[in-house]
């Protein structure tokens, strides 16, 4: 490519706020119910129905704002965003236009060892729409069904500044934002269930150019991976278009996960005119400073604080601390382990290697684990007191991960306990030595290899359960004793 380009990325993230009931009615927000079983005349847009604001939604929005270093203005208000779609029962979405609940803010990301601050423009509350169920593809379906269970579920839309310069940075932002939302306890952030969604605004410009290029907005990004891949694709597409002398069209695009490409959805000309105006059914919302202060005083530990704690209190390397604080369940697991086990680095190693490997392999979250932190501690203690070897421990751990059984039980059932009992081992050792007089002869003639042979045979005879340290010690003693 001739010119060098810079990629400019801003993200709009929709996080479902973790309330028990919907934003403006008392229907449940639980995921996975039968279609249209969590609906009422309000959230299905019946005539004469009025919204009543869920206080919990506002509290969670404020908590998010505090976590993102935002300003919480004293007055915010709701607006109607008008458009027709069968999954939008009132044909308008209650959202916030010019006076959002959170203004400004930032979060810090780390890419290639460098810390970078990404600005937050705003965060506003709104309600989710329902969903359409098609028979196959939307373009060929003979009819579509509407499920309004999600209609009215509270969302917080968090808009970043166009501060990111690579797909990697965008991913790091998204991961960091997710960890903050999880730690703040405001959202479950389950991308696969749609409780965390992301649209990416991407443009490119020649390096050194001040003004931004024309941007496109890519929707349907359901994972960190698709976020990263779509930005890479979209930036490359735009660069190639510019190289070919084409103009970038401001438009909405969608990510095709299967083909790994972005496709045009609608151009600026086809864009909706949402005709925002103040929601007359909800008076402007006054947020008292007392309330904000109370929420601020009750803030849970956030990832940055937790990370500092792990480094400063437990001497973990920055890298370990960063990984463990990506997710509060993960941190909680760690904290529980080290409450009864001193070697924090060893716990960290086990979590980042064995535990992570198995979680990834099984596509599981740590919260879904069938064993407790105390069980991992037990395994570590069994290694320490010589009951099992490090290698056995890995086998026990995997079995425990799969079955959820207690480590002692697994060891017992599989007969895996390490044999450290000296008299048992001496019998074994003496037997092997007597069966191999020629090797004994070699050993006496100074052949060091013979010692290794004996150890191997002893381990084999004990089906690997002999404690190698004890075997070494005893074998040396027996071989040097006069009777042999």
């Amino acid at each position: 490519m001739g010119k060098e380009f810079e990629i400019v990325i801003g993200l709009e993230v929709h996080a479902e706020l973790k309330t028990a009931t919907k934003a403006f009615c008392s229907c449940s927000t639980a995921f996975g119910a039968e279609p249209n079983t969590q609906v009422c005349p309000v959230c299905s847009g019946f005539p004469g129905m009025l919204p009543v604001l869920n206080k919990k939604m506002v509290e969670l929005a404020i908590r998010t704002g505090i976590a993102l270093n935002s300003e919480i203005p004293e007055i915010c208000k709701f607006d109607r965003k008008n458009y027709f779609y069968p999954d939008l029962p009132k044909a308008y979405q209650i959202s916030q236009f010019d006076l959002p609940v959170c203004k400004g803010g930032y979060l810090d990301i780390e890419v290639d060892g460098q810390t970078k601050r990404i600005g937050i423009t705003r965060a506003h509350m709104e309600e989710d729409a329902g969903k359409l169920v098609h028979q196959g593809d939307i373009t060929t379906t003979p009819f579509s069904l509407v499920d309004l269970n999600r209609s009215g579920v509270p969302l917080l839309e968090i808009v970043s500044e166009p501060d990111m310069r690579s797909a990697q940075e965008a991913r790091a932002y998204m991961e960091k934002l997710r960890s903050i939302l999880l730690f703040a306890g405001v959202s479950d952030c389950k991308m696969q269930e749609g409780s965390l969604r992301c649209d990416a605004n991407v443009s490119v410009r020649p390096v050194g150019q001040m003004e931004f290029g024309t941007r496109t907005e890519t929707k349907n990004l359901n994972s960190f991976r698709s976020l990263e891949k779509s930005i890479e694709y979209e930036a490359r597409r735009q660069m190639e278009a510019i190289e070919d002398g084409e103009e970038i069209v401001q438009e909405t695009r969608t990510w095709d996960e299967e083909k790994q490409v972005t496709r045009s959805m609608r151009s600026k000309e086809e864009a909706h005119d949402y005709r925002y105006f103040p929601e007359p059914d909800l008076p402007p919302l006054k947020i008292s400073r007392e309330w904000v202060n109370t929420i601020a005083a009750q803030m849970p530990e956030l990832p940055e604080q937790a990370r500092r704690r792990l480094v400063e209190e437990y001497g973990l390397p920055e890298y370990d601390a960063a990984i463990i604080t990506l997710n509060p369940d993960y941190l909680n697991f760690f904290d529980q382990c080290i409450s009864s086990y001193k070697d924090a680095k060893l716990v960290s190693n086990w979590m980042m290697s064995e535990l992570n490997r198995l979680l990834n392999q099984n596509n599981m979250e740590i919260g879904e684990c069938r064993f407790k932190p105390a069980d991992l501690v037990k395994i570590l203690q069994l290694i320490d007191d010589g009951s099992i070897s490090g290698k056995m421990a890995k086998t026990v751990f995997e079995e425990m991960f799969n079955s959820g059984q207690a480590p002692e039980l697994i060891i017992k059932e599989k007969g895996m306990a390490q044999i450290s009992d000296e008299s048992t081992l001496i019998n074994l050792i003496d037997g092997i030595i007597q069966d191999n007089p020629k090797v004994l002869e070699d050993y006496k003639n100074g052949k060091e290899k013979a010692f290794g042979f004996f150890v191997g045979q002893i381990m084999k005879a004990s089906k690997g359960q002999a404690n190698p340290g004890v075997v070494n010690k005893l074998l040396k003693e027996r071989l040097s004793s006069s009777e042999m």
Partner: protein, 484 residues
């Protein structure tokens, strides 16, 4: 006197004294309704079976308190559980709500007996009830004339003795103007005084539920029941509701009453001016202090109203899309056709006109020039009233510029029709309480005077109106309908 000529408090006495049963009372009103309806056409739905059953239950209980056993009617904009609610629109022709409006429910909880649903202009858009998709209602004083609108069915039914009282809604004069045309009392309380829950929205920031009655005491009795905070309507205000009958002391000495010169100018019928001026002299004779004032921004109220109200209506009526309830064109081959064909067939011309006006006013590029400017005008109008109320207790004016006009006379030109609301619209724009009270006849047709009070000071309206009523006989005027 005939039962149908009596007021709520007179009927209550008869029930309490066991002169009549609730069932007999309801039956007598149904006889009246059945006799008059072929001429009057005030009802869209008559709920005889349900009403008689309720009346029998009331009689069985045998306790007659407040509204117990008193029949009433509801404008067909109030949702009624299990009873068809059409808003006089084809799009809701077969709509049966699963819920009751708060105002209607409170009346029924107090033992009121609903006799049926009353005609109106479609979605409350009109001033003659001729915009009903189903029928025109006649004015009981002259069957060739309109009853006013949009709550024309409610006004006509009360005037003709089909019901002792009825509820209506008032967005720009829809209670006061028909009350004036039909010679009954019509009250539009302060915005926020009565819950809008379950009332199909026209313009949410202007709509208010109110009362049609034969006299002031009845009006106070009904407001006592329907007023007050409703947790389901966030715009209803949490202020204590006084006992409005406590204001009925007949005393206006020292009360300061203003009459705005702008309300006695352009386009107001000379005889109406004279009639209302005579009423003002009457107040003066009773000891009130009257003086002329100016409400300088009055002329901008109507144009601003025709931006705000249609804008809100365009969003409020967007939910009638054929997806979940109401009329749907099943011939449509795709979703966009389903929307446009269902709405084309379901809405009448006036409704379509206002949806288009409102959509235009909110459109990108026009919002500031139209909607935002209208909101500013609204503020100026409210300021005008505030200034007058710094020195006065009450404002008195004509309710409408003319008496009832002839059916078909004003259907051609919407602008002429809109002028009917010129004296009532400013009150909605400022959110103030307004009442129309009969104060004379012009050419054999009733004329109302409008009383405007401070926000949440309905009490002063009742006080002045009751004193006027005690010193005049206009509330005893009844139309001659030639039907027993």
């Amino acid at each position: 006197m005939e039962l149908h000529q009596l007021t709520i408090h007179e009927l209550h006495d008869k029930l309490a004294d066991r002169e009549i049963s609730a069932e007999e009372l309801a039956s007598s009103f149904f006889s009246r309704i059945n006799a008059l309806e072929p001429k009057l056409r005030a009802f869209l739905t008559i709920t005889e079976e349900k009403a008689l059953k309720q009346a029998r239950e009331v009689d069985k209980a045998g306790k007659y308190e407040g509204l117990t056993g008193i029949p009433f009617g509801l404008k067909d904009i109030f949702c009624t559980r299990g009873v068809r609610t059409t808003c006089a629109s084809k799009i809701l022709e077969n709509f049966v709500p699963t819920y009751d409006s708060t105002a209607g429910r409170r009346l029924e909880e107090q033992g009121g007996i609903l006799l049926g649903k009353l005609n109106m202009d479609e979605f409350a858009m009109g001033s003659s009830t001729e915009q009903s998709a189903f029928q025109s209602t006649c004015n009981p004083w002259d069957l060739e004339r309109v009853p006013g609108g949009s709550s024309g069915g409610s006004a006509a039914a009360v005037a003709a003795g089909e019901v002792p009282f009825a509820l209506g809604t008032d967005t720009g004069g829809s209670i006061r103007q028909p009350a004036s045309y039909c010679g009954v009392v019509g009250l539009k309380p302060t915005y926020g005084r009565v819950s809008r829950w379950g009332v199909i929205a026209f313009a949410s920031s202007l709509d208010q539920v109110g009362v049609f009655s034969r006299d002031i005491r009845d009006c106070a009795l009904v407001l006592n029941i329907i007023a007050g905070k409703d947790p389901l309507d966030s715009t209803s205000v949490n202020l204590e509701v006084p006992d409005y009958t406590s204001f009925l002391d007949g005393e206006v000495r020292g009360m300061k009453i203003a009459y705005p010169r702008e309300y006695f100018q352009q386009g107001v019928d000379e005889q109406i001016k004279t009639t209302v001026m005579q009423a003002l002299r009457k107040f003066e004779a009773m000891g009130a202090i009257i003086d002329e004032v100016s409400l300088p921004h009055s002329e901008y109220a109507l144009p601003a109203y025709y931006l705000v109200a249609p804008a809100e209506a365009s969003a409020n009526l967007a939910r009638f899309d054929g997806v979940r309830y109401g009329l749907r064109d099943f011939e449509a081959q795709n979703v966009v056709d389903m929307y446009s064909q269902s709405r084309s067939q379901g809405f009448g011309n006036e409704v379509k006109r206002r949806i288009m006006l409102g959509t235009y006013a909110l459109s990108s590029g026009y919002y500031d020039a139209y909607y935002l400017k209208a909101l500013k005008v609204r503020r100026l109008i409210a300021n005008d009233f505030d200034k007058v109320f710094a020195d006065f207790d009450l404002i008195v004016s004509p309710t409408a510029p003319t008496p009832a006009f002839k059916l078909g006379e004003q259907t051609g030109d919407p602008l002429t029709l809109y002028m009917n609301d010129i004296l009532t619209v400013p009150v909605n724009m400022a959110g103030l309480p307004g009442m129309s009270l009969p104060c004379g006849l012009v050419n054999g047709l009733p004329v109302g005077m409008q009383l405007i009070g401070k926000a949440f000071d309905e009490g002063t309206l009742f006080k002045a109106a009751y004193a006027f009523e005690q010193n005049t006989d206009y509330h005893k005027m009844r139309p001659v309908l030639g039907v027993k």
